[in-house]
Structures are given as structure tokens and as C-alpha cells.
Amino acid sequence: MSYVPIADQPDEMHDPQTFITKYIWSQDHKVIAIQYAGTAIAVGVVALVLSGLMRLQLGFPDTFTFIEPAEYYQYVTMHGMIMVVYLLTALFLGGFGNYLIPLQIGARDMVFPFLNMLSYWFYLLSVLILMASFFVPGGPTGAGWTLYPPQAITEGTPGAGAGIMLMLASLAVFVVAFTMGGLNYVTTVLQARTRGMTLMRMPLSVWGIFVATILGLFAFPALFVSAVMMSFDKLLGTSFFMPAMISLGEVVDYRGGSPILFQHLFWFFGHPEVYIVALPAFGLVSDVLSTHARRNIFGYRMMVWAIVAIGGLSFIVWAHHMYVSGMNPYFGFFFAFTTLIIAIPTAIKVYNWVLTLWQGNIRLTVPMLFAMGFIFTFIHGGLTGLFLGNVTIDLPLSDTYFVVAHFHMVMGVSPVMVVFAAIYHWFPKISGKMFDERLGKIHFWGTFLGTYAIYLPMHYLGFLGVPRRYFALGTTDFIPQSAFELNAAISVAAIFVGVLQIVFFINIFKSLWSGKKADPNPWDATSLEWLTPDTPPRHGNWGHELPTVYRWAYEYGSPGVKEDFVPQNLPPNEVQMENPGEKYKESEH
């Protein structure tokens, strides 16, 4: 039977005609990826500014009088929700997923480009709805990023009117947008791989994004349902999540609902969400480490199965976020057990990254620095996660800065390290220009050391018992004066790291404007996206013929081969050997 890959049917391609169809209403996965990434980073900058304002209040209480308690809670809420959902999820899956999946598996585009385009426009709509909540009476919601009822929709909470409604509407639209994109990513990986690209030859980036998208398709429904039910509670006066209670001296009009139900639904989404962000990061960083260490990834199969195992386990650990909510003790036992099991596949991944570096011919480029920075921050955040996974240790630490430090180390700094590693790594392919190496290194060292200056002391504050979520600490016996001084120091470091990110944007724009032209394969990488006929790749990616894949994506430093890498699409008989008489022997992948 003749072999026609799905994404290689010429009449399925929608060639752009005008500027508008090429760059705005585009169905090209690469343009959609850049639209996604640009929007996500722009909204991420808003969240970064909000965190700076929070740190100003925490570090120097009573100094910045324009920050009222209500506004502080609004900053907390919006910072958390934007960073987790609208920046990281959208950037990893909408941005890197869109850009890399078709290029790395050798497809011309996503299988359903029109739906892919709709996905971006719905995402933009959800962002606009969220941003609109800054401008409504009462401001955005200040319910905390977990939006727990009853307080989220009860009078007296900041933004309990229009703010929370816009937040819920925005989340529901985001879920719709994600579903449209996610169906495309999974189906493309399954159905549009080029000849020879078996699942076990795919780069780990694709594996991470693939499994994370499946998690998203199963986890976001819970968020959608809880958003729908809570907006009914607010708008129609139903009592899904609202118990009978007295608020501000008056009996509210609700009875018989279950606030714990919301927590279960929210965390059934919320915990897989951690891995929706982490798995793409795991995948991308594996590719960056392997390429710049000039070594094959250590234990490729184990890496794949670890991604799959973590993805599966992430659905049965959600209640470890609810140890202090009140649960049957046996539940706590079960969820602590499953939570700690996740440490096993995660540790396999960490060991394999380190072993990939072992005896490698490491090139300390900017993406490699960020990737190695990730290993440090991730080990840190992961180990404190083992503390918090135990019920008895979690109970005293749960409402302190220890949780803030753990969470930001493992899910804030680590994925952001990978975001920067990946942006620097693929920037030459995406833009066709090289970035400024010196500015990149300043950016790395400032960010890496700066984030440690922020979050390491927070662990200590947590052990002291300094509570999180407080607008101001006031005077209490158990919080010593030194804690206030430490808080001020943390704030200085946070503002420094925040401002330092300007270096990144200067580097990007300067390089786009006047960077030197990039080599099509500047890192001597093996995977397909570096082997496109044009840099940056044109619409349709591959010219007339799709590439054929002969091996996995990690053929670095093979014995006897002249160059230290063998591209995935190079036929075995064309591989140049050091000794011309010798014949190239294919590895088992």
C-alpha cells in the first residue's frame, strides 16, 4: 500500500495569501505558537509586576500605603492564577507544543489547523476577560488562586461581585481553548508522524508535551465543572458549594452545599496541572541537556516510562493539597502513600539527567546553563515536596512560608528555568538570528542566584512558623525581629530578579533587530526541527518531501563516526566514518 502521511496531502494545506492570513488569522502552527508564546509572556509580565508589589508590602510594611489589604489579596490571586494557567500552561503547550510537535515528528502542520487557530483566539479571549477584571467595580477577585468557596463568592471578599465572575468565565473559556489545542497535539503525535518516526524514537520534548496534553484533556474538565457550578452559585443562587452560614452578621441565602466538593474538584484539576507544567519542562530540558552535553540521553526508555508513570500517578494524589481541610485519616494515609511513590519516577529522571552530563563533552552555552540551573532548583523543590507529602509534617508547615518556598522552587523557578533554556535553545531556529551570549549569561547568573536569594530564606521563615497569606505580620511573640529583616532582604532580591528580566527582553529584541544570522543547526543537534530546508522553517516545513527517520534523536558521540552527532534523517550508508573502510553500525534505537 502506498504511504501517504496525513499531514502530507497537498490539498489539505492552506497556503497563506495575504499579510493577515499569514500573521494574524494564521493556521500555520509556527505562527500560532509565537502568538501563544507572545500572549503568555505578556500576561506573565503582568503577574511578575504583581509579585513585585506583593514583595514591596511584605518586605516594607506600612511604607507603601497605596497597597491596601484587599489589593494585596487581589495581587496574590491574580499572580497565582496567571502564572500557573495563563503563562506556564499556555506557554509550554500552546507555545512550545505548537512549535515543536510538527517539526520534531516530521509533519507539515497540526492535523486540524483551523481548530488550532481557534484555540489561540479562544485563549486570547480568556486572557482579555481575565484582564478586564482589573477594570470592573470591586476589582479582580481576591479569593486566593484556589478560589475556595464559600469565601470566594461571599460579600466581604475583594472582588466577590464582578471579579470572581470574570475569573470563572475566563477559566471556562480557557478550558475550551485548551481542549481545541490539546486534541490537535495528541492526535498529531499519534497520527502525523513521518516515516520511521516510531513512538520510541520521538524526542523527549514531544513525549513530555504529549503526556501533559493527555493529562490536560482529563484534568481540565474538573476545573470547567467547578467553574460552572460556582458561577451558578453566584448568579442563580444554587447551593452546590455553599453551606448555610452567617456572614457579616446576616444569615446567607444558601444551605446544604459542600465546600469540600469544590476542593476535591479543584485539586483533581490542580494536581495534574502541576505535571501539565512539569512534564513538558522535563521533556524540553532532556533535549537541551543531551544536545549541549554531546551525549545520548541516559536511559531513554526509562525516561519515557517515567513520564507516563508520573502522568498516571498525578491523578491519584490530589487530596495531599487538602490535609488541613479535614478528611478521613485513612484518606490521608492513601494520598501520602501515592504522593511519595511519585518520587520514584521523578528521581529516575533526575539521576538520568545527571548521568547524561557524566563524562559528557559539556558546552556551557546559555541554554545549557539554564538547563543545569533547572536540575539544581528542581532537586531543591522536589526534596521539600517529600516533607510536605507526609501528613504529619504537612500539618504544621502547611500554612507557612515553607509551602510558598517549596511550591515556587518546584513549580515556579524550575519550569521558568526550562522556559528560558528552551527559548535560548530554539531562538536561532525560530527567528533565524543568534542571540547575544554575554547578555544571556548575565541573565542566567542573575536569575539563578537571585531566585535562590529569594526562596532559600523562605524555607527558614516557614520553619519559624511565619504564616503565608498574611497582608502584614504585626507583632507576635514567635516571629522575631530578624524575620522582618529577612523579609526585607527577600523583597530586595525579588525586585532585583524581576527587574533583571529586562535583560532578557533587550536580548531578544536586539537579536531580532540586529543579531547575526544563525546557522540552520547551530548546536549540532540531531532532531528533525534543525534539519529543515529553510531557517526559519517556511509554511509546510519540509519543502517537497517529508523527511525519513532512521534512528532516535540522541545519536551523539557514536564510536567511529567522524562528526560527534548523527542526524535522525541521515541514511545509514551516508554516515561519514573516521576510518573510511569502516561501516556505520546502527545503535539499537
Binding site: I6, L183, Q191, G196, T198, L199, F224, G237, F240, G256
Partner: protein, 223 residues
Amino acid sequence: MSSLDIAESKNSQEFVEDWSADKQTYHVPWGKAMMWLFLVSDTFIFTCFLVGYLNVRRTTTDPWPYPSEVFALELFGHNLPLILIAIMTFVLITSSGTMAMAVRYAHFRDKKKVFWFMAITAFFGATFVGMQVFEWSKLISEGVRPWGNPFGAPQFGSIFFMVTGFHGLHVSIGVIYLLIVASKVRRGHYDKKDNYEIVEITGLYWHFVDLVWVFIFAFFYLW
């Protein structure tokens, strides 16, 4: 390698290798794969709704209304419990049958029959939604509201309107989807590439909506 060979491979390693091989061994059209994925995702939405229902039914402090009284209908002087819902369920299950006929004739490229069976399916779907509108207006006229009702727990009305409304929305979208595909079938749109997969994909969606109804029926009306 045919699907038969895959089923017969005794070794689990071989099985994994077959399924992880490149496109040549995995002949599922992308549209069908994508619809299956969507349906699994949608299953999670309905499951979350039903879990929410089970939960609030336990947490509410008021007694839960007795379904065979609430959903009874006075017909010809007899008080018949669940009669409307029985008819609705029958209509919807029948529409699954006519949809299956449409898929069968799509394999034979019998354009006319495909069109008519899809149109009949859409008609049954629209009938179902119409009867649901009748049921809703009857309940509303009896004083059932999302925030309360005269029969007992206020959550009864909230969850009933929410879940049947969400399902009714699925049926309505399905009717529109069916009519669009049916009219395209009649115009010969799918003859250009001789590709009638879309009929089967529409059928997947339609059967799913029917299957979900079976669960809603069991959970809301029989318990």
C-alpha cells in the same frame, strides 16, 4: 500488519512495539482518533457533574424529592410515573439505531439513504429536546427553580437543570451537526474524495450523547 496480527501477538513487548510503530501500522483516520479523544475528555466533564450530584445529595440537610412522584404525568385520567422520561429515552435510543443505519449505508456510498437516516436521527434528537422543554416547563410551573423547590432539597432543582441542560445542549449541538453533515452528504461533498468517515465520526458523537443519557436517566430518575 493487520489488527488481527496485533491481537494474536502473544508477547506483550511485540504488542507495545506494534502500537508504537510509525504511521504505517496504525490505520485510524485522524478525525476519528480526535473525536474519540474529545469524547473521553467530555466523559470526564459529565463524570464530574455526576460526582457533584452524588456529593450534594449526601451533604444537603433537606430530604431528597421522590423522583417517581416529581416526574409523574397525568395522562387519560391515570397518574403514570416516569412515563414522559420513558418515551424520551425510547426516542433517543431509537435515534442511535437510525444513526447506525446511516453509518452502514455510508459504507455502501448510498447517498440517499445516508441522508434520510441522518435526517431521521436529527428529527428524533429534536423531538427529544422538545420533550425536554416540555418537562422543564412542567417542573417550572410546579415551582421548581435552581435555588429551591416545593418538594424538598434545593439541590434537586439546581443539579437537575444543570445536568439535563448540559446534556440537552449536547443533543442540540448534535442535531445541528447531523443536519450539516447530512446536507453535505446530499450535495455530494464527500464524493470528491470518496471519504465518508465524517458520517461515522458524527455517529460516534451521537452514540456518546445517548450513552450519557442512560447514566443520567439511571442516576436522576430511577434512584
